[in-house]
Amino acid sequence: MSDTRWEAVIGIEIHAQLLTATKMFCGCRLSFGDDPNTHTCPICLAHPGALPVTNAEAVRLAIIAGHALGCEIPERSVFHRKNYFYPDLPKAYQISQFDEPICGPGRFRYLSDDGEHWVGITRAHLEEDAAKLTHTGGDGRRAGAERSSVDFNRGGTPLLEIVTEPDLRSGAEASAFLKQLRQTLVQLGITDGNMEQGSMRADANISVRPVGQAEFGTKTELKNMNSFTFLERGIGAEIARQIEILEDGGSVVQETLHFDPVTGDIHSLRSKEEAHDYRYFPEPDLVPVVPDRAWVDEIKAGLPELPVDRRDRWRSDLGLTFEDAEVLSESPELAAYFEAVASEASPKSAANWVRGELRAQLREVDQEPWESNVTPSALAAIIGMVEGREVSMPNAKAVLAEVVEHGGDPAEIVETKGLGAISDDSELVALVDRLLAEHADQAQQLRDGKDKLIGFFVGQAMKATQGRADPGRVGELVRERVHSA
């Protein structure tokens, strides 16, 4: 084995299905799970004489995405025909974009626990999805199948293909990038980002080179990883495979590969006979897309706060950790909920409660915070009472449970159920003294240095007061009184 240190060079191609009502070039509704071939028309079935018409909403979503990716939006973009024969492609060409995409170069910023990162975006372009092929018999692939069926419902679904620069260096980086890209696209309503159902798919271009070498090594393309875990593991496995080949003195073959998440194997996906010359040429049935500049600017001005910016703000203004910010900005609803709580309570406590106790309790009833009985104000009130030592933590949790179940004003619940903290210190002193007397053995052991027994007395105190005692204060008092008693 040589001592060469290797570096991986990774670029990602993402295909995201756009959340339009209708297909990219016809008026058929987008739908998933409906009976096969129920959403088709002469255009998406490529009947003779039918012509495509560009979906304006898809263009709008692509421009939104472009702004979010920090891309230039060129003056005009052009559709091209990408020619190849396959039963899932009824025209035998896919309408895609080639040298004039809807979104030009850009840079996408994302945060990870070691700071901020930038990934160059080469381009993002619009295209139509292929139909869905199902092969029955054999091993589920076309070769050897007894029968193949085509469902054209998916054919013509608008896709945004985003291509990154080779700026990523590991599977973990790729996964972190993709997570935040996905979150951004989902929060902007561009795609539902469902990787398992294939509405978002990622391919990775991977090569390795000795550290310090400027030229890229030979790259391979790893196709269609349908989860972040697979993406990370697949890239890791491919990097390892390439390094092994190179260290054995071999050379990497440029090819398209498939990662099998079950076995961890990587195998070649395309055979030679399927090598394509796509013969791209401008689609003569469509006119170039020349978006009105004022409209493009208007879209940019109307963009909501991007998840990455929100995270930044939370970290700098609210003092949240990277992890808090990451978790709490998972969805726009959660982010809004958290912000509402944090506006009425200490942000750090708000983060802890939302991520911790609230989610734990709501998981039991299968609800999300923003659709639960717990209004942000109610949660903020509970947090406020805990911080003001008006209720003990255990009782605060009980109050929350009550709100989860029936709703209502936490202060009233505390009042009517008598859950308020014992605010009179002398009451607690008397209680502690009584407990020390009742449990003289334990008190002696405590005096002898068995500090663990403080917990025992706190427990007894909580029991005796039905949780109304402040456990912290009780602990302090036990320490004080055990020696004075």
Binding site: P42, A46, G49, P87, R142, R279, F281, D285, L286
Partner: protein, 480 residues
Amino acid sequence: MAELTDLTAEEAIAAIGAGEVSSVELTEAHLARAESDTWHSFLEVDRERALAAARRIDAAPERPPLAGVPVGIKDALSTKDLTTTSGSKILEGFRPVYTATCVARLEAAGAVVLGKTNMDEFAMGSSCENSAYGPTRNPWDLDRVPGGSSGGSASSVSARQVPWSLGSDTGGSIRQPAALCGIVGMKPTYGAVSRYGLIAFASSLDQVGPFARTVRDSALLLQHMVGHDPMDSTSIDLPEPIALPSRERLDGLRVGVIEELMGEGVDAGVRATVETALAAMESLGATLHPVHIPHAKYALATYYLIAPAECSANLARFDGIRYGHRTADAHDLLETYERTRSEGFGPEVKRRIMLGTFALASGYYDAYYGQAQRVRTLMVRDFDDIFSEVDVVASPTSPSVAFPLGERTADPYTMYLSDICTIPMSLAGLPAMSIPCGLSDGLPVGLQLAGPALSENRLFEAAHATELALGFDTRPGGTA
């Protein structure tokens, strides 16, 4: 009253309006000639559909503008439930689920679709001999071709099977057969008529237009087809509606005579006839000016790169999977494609698909398709320059009169030369038309007039006045 089938559409509409004849009677008269189809103009005549439409129009409280006058439709246009093959075996028996926009607009205006007319397969040809269903014959001489690719649409109008019809023109497929059959054929500005439902040959060139026996009829038919269609992104609105031409003089009209199309390669008889027609225009007050298309010599080569390139993609959808012919014995996917297409396409179509596939291939794109697009841009500029000095240009429509069946089938290049006069305007997307201007050796000669984009109305005026002055009798010998 004259024979019903001799009436122009305008005369027929007037007769129906005056209550002298019904749409059903008019349709019956034309059906009779369409059904005894000596010329093989039609691939399919749908008597029931036509008569049903005619009856509906006769019964309607208000008469639509086209009043139930029959029309022939080139088989390249999709017609719901009416077999549409584009002249190809690969679409034998294909019944579309929708109707082309231009046909639907004509039907809405009261035209009665009589049937589908013969054509060169997928509009590739200049003689109608490339039809998978046998050639069409020229009404002026049954041993000669009617021209193509819209040969059946031209012969049906010439032979009085319909007063007018629709064709499509990619490099001359309306104008050249109109010339060879002694009728009027018009290719509008690219985009003026929706292509939705026109089975594509070369998308950036294809345009639907009318055949008729008078210029006014062709303007009338076009009037009801033009305008933007939401289903065709390349379609446009004209700056003003199509008007029926009425002027009899051409005072002040500057006519550019295209020098490159008046010399070598054009038969002497054709040239002499066209010169006579130009003299007639001059006598109406027009002035003649020699003009040049500097890049004309590249037009044919440019066309035969762009059109095949586009067709190679346009015809890829005919794969035997969803509709049309599918081979009977294939064992896998590749064989299904190969055999279906080998069996379904004729030799000229295959030739052009291969030419186009090659022209787009990686490594050749720039030298062929890319270069052709650059020349096309130059040709557009040539015409811009010309139209800064003249109002319309004139030339022969076809370098020769109708040629004998079989004469050029063995030599594709000679066949391609049939379109040298019409291709430049197609590449530039200009409105252009052919009107009959006389006979040479007893066969019709076409005068081609073309104008700048969207100048349809001026073109019709020029053609109409010239037509009146020439007084050409469109009745072919023997069918009158």
